[in-house]
Amino acid sequence: MLRDITLGQYYQADSVIHRLDPRVKLGSTILFIISLFVFDGAAGYIVAAVFLTLVINLSKVPFRFMVKGMKAIVFLLMITVVFNLFLTPGEPLFTIWKLKITKEGLRLAVLLAVRLSFLIIGSSIMTLTTTPNQLTDGLEKMLHPLNRIKVPVHEIAMMMSIALRFIPILMEETDKIMKAQLARCADFDSGNIIKRAKGLVPLLVPLFISAFRRANDLAMAMEARCYRGGEHRTKMKPLHYARRDFIAYAVVACYLVIGVAAGRLEPVLLAFVGITGGVSV
């Protein structure tokens, strides 16, 4: 049940994408997401789709893993599509009972659905190919300049990596406690909402206790090894840009240029298709 959430899970493989510097992946993901909101014609999204397919292929992560991540947002996606489809005013295409589907609504619904799914797939590629540790390392290095204005970057990164590290542990713990209470005939999935909420008490209380116990143990272990965060702390695996990282930046830049250009040229392209189409007829 809980294990089905792929979003934020690492997939072990040996690929170019896996080996890229986490900063490249973080930066590119952000650029990719921005690009999705800049494009608003079919041409831009075709370019984005081609780019995504390319990266997924390079990453050696099976496509079904990305789709698994999509499951989590299916509900959100449906709501977005349905609302846009029926509630956008404009030129009506056809009417079902009292609901009007407009040309603009259809366009917007498709656009948003594509945008959202690309967004999720794009960010899943990052999390599937980057370990949480690499990710926080990358983030720390990227945000390092903020240290000058007294932002505790290292501490924030540390908290993030601990939080990420604890997700699977706490999930496993939840699973264990759930089973233990199920063995005592607990009922987690029947009855009305109040009964169900009450049913969670035997799960949540032990879970919180165990989370605090683990936090305590971790703090103790860190103290015992004289952990002092921040300045002068060296890394076991310092981040260095390699040639492939610059190539990756270049590829992303190319993608952006092509995407924007395709968007600009869309009317021209359409006209061209129209002319050739006309000629062939």
Partner: protein, 291 residues
């Protein structure tokens, strides 16, 4: 109520890149009233196996029958199964959640929909069975010692009056005294109630003293399934898979190696005592006492 496993397989993460076969074609019959020890190295599949017995885990393939009924049938009442096959997990004290001991033990019987009177009666009986004194009944379970917490957790399962009690590493993390107390209590419980008890452990010494049947698991398969005595005869193979015979067996073997004519077919300290006594009695009888 016997449990029968027929060619049960369990594979973890079947649809990921690294599937793991935890149970491999397990055939097993657990009749009423036995005291069974399941032994195996870490990762041998013993915990996975016992979670199949009360339907917490679903077999990837194969069937499990409880009292002649297939537990994976659509209309099979899993809740009833779980009340009949009580499973005490590793570190069961981590599942305690109520404000006092007594209420926590009431959780199981309450889920069975019994009357308040019956619930409290069962909780009381269960706490008595695990040997917890009345003075602790209304304390917070979090204020108790590790061994006491564990007893409360075991009582929480016993209060459902299971016919089969499965204990997964009940002595993990306890000191020798706590360990002996828990095991003694379980043995006593077995004797008093006559229920089937399955003890999962990786310590031969824990198990040898109490059980009358040992199942040795290795890499998801059942390696041996026999009386303790018969299983420990395979001590060389046991060592190979990271287990060992009870320490007392080794002492007897060592005595043999030093020329004392004792049997090494011994699994408990009491048996060893009798065997050594027998040996000396034999010496006295033949007049060779001044060796």
């Amino acid at each position: 109520m016997p449990i029968i496993l027929d060619k049960v397989n369990h594979i973890y993460g079947q649809d990921t890149g690294t599937p793991l076969r935890a149970l491999n074609n397990i055939d097993l019959v657990i009749p009423d009233g036995q005291f069974i020890g399941i032994i195996g190295h870490t990762g041998s599949g013993k915990s996975t196996l016992v979670q199949h017995l009360n339907g917490l885990m679903k077999a990837t393939s194969g069937n499990i029958y409880f009292n002649g009924e297939d537990i994976d049938d659509e209309d099979f009442d899993k809740k009833k199964l779980r009340s009949k096959v009580g499973l005490v997990f590793q570190y069961p004290e981590h599942q305690l959640f109520e404000t006092d001991v007594f209420t926590d033990v009431c959780f199981g019987p309450k889920n069975l929909g019994l009357s308040q009177k019956e619930i409290e009666l069962r909780a009381y009986e269960a706490l008595k069975l695990v040997g917890l004194d009345d003075e602790y009944f209304y304390q917070s379970p979090f204020d108790l010692s590790g061994g006491q917490k564990r007893r409360v957790a075991i009582a929480g399962v016993l209060a459902m009056k299971p016919q089969v009690l499965v204990l997964d590493e009940p002595t993990a993390g306890l000191d020798p005294k706590g360990r002996d107390e828990i095991l003694e209590q379980v043995a006593k419980l077995k004797k008093e109630t006559g229920i089937t008890v399955i003890l999962v452990s990786h310590s031969m010494d824990d198990v040898a003293r109490y059980v009358d049947r040992i199942i040795v698991m290795n890499k998801g398969c059942i390696l041996y399934d026999d009386t303790p005595r018969a299983v420990f005869r395979h001590y060389a193979k046991l060592e190979e898979i990271g287990l060992a015979a009870p320490q007392v067996t080794y002492i007897m073997r060592e005595l043999q190696a030093h020329g004392y004519d004792v049997s090494d077919d011994v699994t408990t300290i009491d048996e060893a005592k009798d065997e050594i006594k027998r040996y000396f009695a034999g010496l006295v009888a033949t007049g060779k006492g001044n060796r």
